[in-house]
Amino acid sequence: MIWIDTIVQGILLGGLYALFAAGLSLVFGIMRLVNLAHGDLIVLGSYVILFVVSALGINPFLAAALAAPVMFLLGWVLQKLVLNRTLGEDILPPLLVTFGLSIVIQNGLLEGFSADSQRMSLGALETASVSLGPITMGVMPLMTFASAILVIVALNQLFYRTAIGRAFRATSDDATTASLMGIRPDRVFASATAIAMLVVTIAALYLGTRANFDPSIGPARLIYAFEAVIIGGLGSLWGTLIGGIIIGVAQTLGAAINPEWQILAGHVAFLIVLLVRPRGLFPKGA
């Protein structure tokens, strides 16, 4: 029975990784931009929420709701003023610029908030749990997983049911022809990154309330996010959730065998998927 419990905990952890990955997947899907600062943007989001929590003395969930518009605007401006200039035939400029951005964010946070690790408290919610027979699930992991599903459903609705979603898909297909339809690609990209930053804010809320964080942990979150996206197959959000779950389950199983193996097991699972299905489990257009 301990194994079933371990797998359930892994699935729930996968929800967190899917949240890390959804924004990355969204941005890559629309503009083929690999954002190496994605993990640091999540950490930045956690600090923004922390700042609101300490300034106003409110609950982190409420603080995240206030941080969301700030992050949305930050994403819009970042894409419009910086990242749009890097897009083009050459894939190197966006990599270099977002790598630089990653360093800037880490050092900015270090300067502003020091290297001390931080934590946002949720009070009783942190230890609350529900039992289902032999399995006990934390309320926070459950909420994380539910949020991941909600985010993916919402993004899919946005993509396939709305005018801006149509513009996203058209611009992703063919930006020049999209501009002949009255669409301004740079603005579509700015909107996409702004929306991705809303997802980042949700990821940041759970990152900051479930564990300690400090300015240096962004790149590791980026790795998990990358692995989830690639296991799932580029461009498929449900695939990204499955990818997150595979890493999550591998990590908890690894940890159950030997606590030192947690991180390693996630990476090994990723490598095995890459060996067997180099394009991921659910590649788009296959």
Binding site: R166, A167, D173, L180, M181, G182, I183
Partner: protein, 264 residues
């Protein structure tokens, strides 16, 4: 005042100059055909007019307003729509979505435009969207009228656009351009690669498009087809206009000379 005119239009791709001072005009209600061999500059001319290539402001005028410097989306919102060479449907969109997106950003200002205008005025610059005003995109064409023009598209409306035959894809591309109710419709090589019977179907749609308020510029390699539908013809060769006239007034020899640069 001509609906659309170019004055000494030049265009270049890097070091390569593709157009050398092209002057053409389109009067309201007219159909103008642009003919010429491969590489004559026909598609470059279309790309310049639609704003995919940028030019000096004064080189292109639409309803008397200089538009040479405007971006493609602003020019489309002024009422100039394009059926691009090779159709260029969006593979991720269904037939119906391809049509809807053609009219989705027509006329007026959307939220993004308003934000842009606000930011530009805030920074003391000119309003980039001011020149898009004056065309609200309303008119005869809608999903229903496009489906009435090309009934087969209604049957296939939930298929991916790229799952259709070449002729049907061309119909989607034309319908998509009509959805913004343009006052000028540019058609770039709409018969290219299609069977003669399909070409006939497509060309039969053009009179109804004209009746409903669009003037046409048709780029065509098939000279016979071009002469049949056009009120006036321009022939391009190596980036220059080598012939202009009404189909009734120009001879085969004129065309031969203009097309190939030989004197007959």
């Amino acid at each position: 005042m001509a609906l659309l005119e170019t004055h000494g239009l030049t265009a270049r791709y890097g070091d390569f100059q593709a157009l050398f001072g092209v002057d053409i005009a389109l009067e309201p209600g007219e159909t103008v055909a642009i003919i010429g061999a491969n590489g004559a500059g026909k598609t470059t001319l279309m790309r310049s007019i639609t704003g995919v290539l940028n030019n000096d402001a004064a080189q292109i005028r639409h309803r008397g307003v200089e538009i040479g410097h405007l971006q493609a989306d602003t020019i489309m919102k002024r009422g100039i729509a394009m059926v691009p060479e090779g159709r260029r449907l969006f593979p991720s969109l269904t037939v119906e979505e391809n049509l809807i997106i053609g009219g989705q950003h027509k006329g007026g200002r959307d939220l993004g435009d308003r934000i842009d205008s606000f930011l530009c005025r805030l920074l003391g610059g000119p309003d980039p969207m001011e020149l898009a005003a004056g065309h609200d995109g309303s008119g005869y064409w809608s999903l229903d009228t496009v489906y009435d023009l090309f009934p087969i598209l209604k049957e296939r409306r939930h298929s991916p656009g790229t799952a259709l035959s070449g002729g049907q894809q061309q119909m989607v591309a034309i319908g998509r351009a009509l959805m913004s109710n343009p006052d000028i419709l540019l058609c770039d090589e709409i018969s290219l690669g299609l069977a003669p019977v399909v070409i006939k179907d497509i060309y039969q749609a053009l009179p109804r498009i004209k009746e409903n308020g669009a003037s046409l510029i048709v780029v065509e390699q098939d000279i016979g087809q071009a002469l049949k539908i056009a009120d006036r013809v321009y022939c391009l060769m190596e980036g220059r206009v080598t012939l202009e006239g009404r189909p009734s007034e120009i001879t085969r020899d004129d065309i031969h000379a203009a097309y190939f640069g030989e004197t007959a």
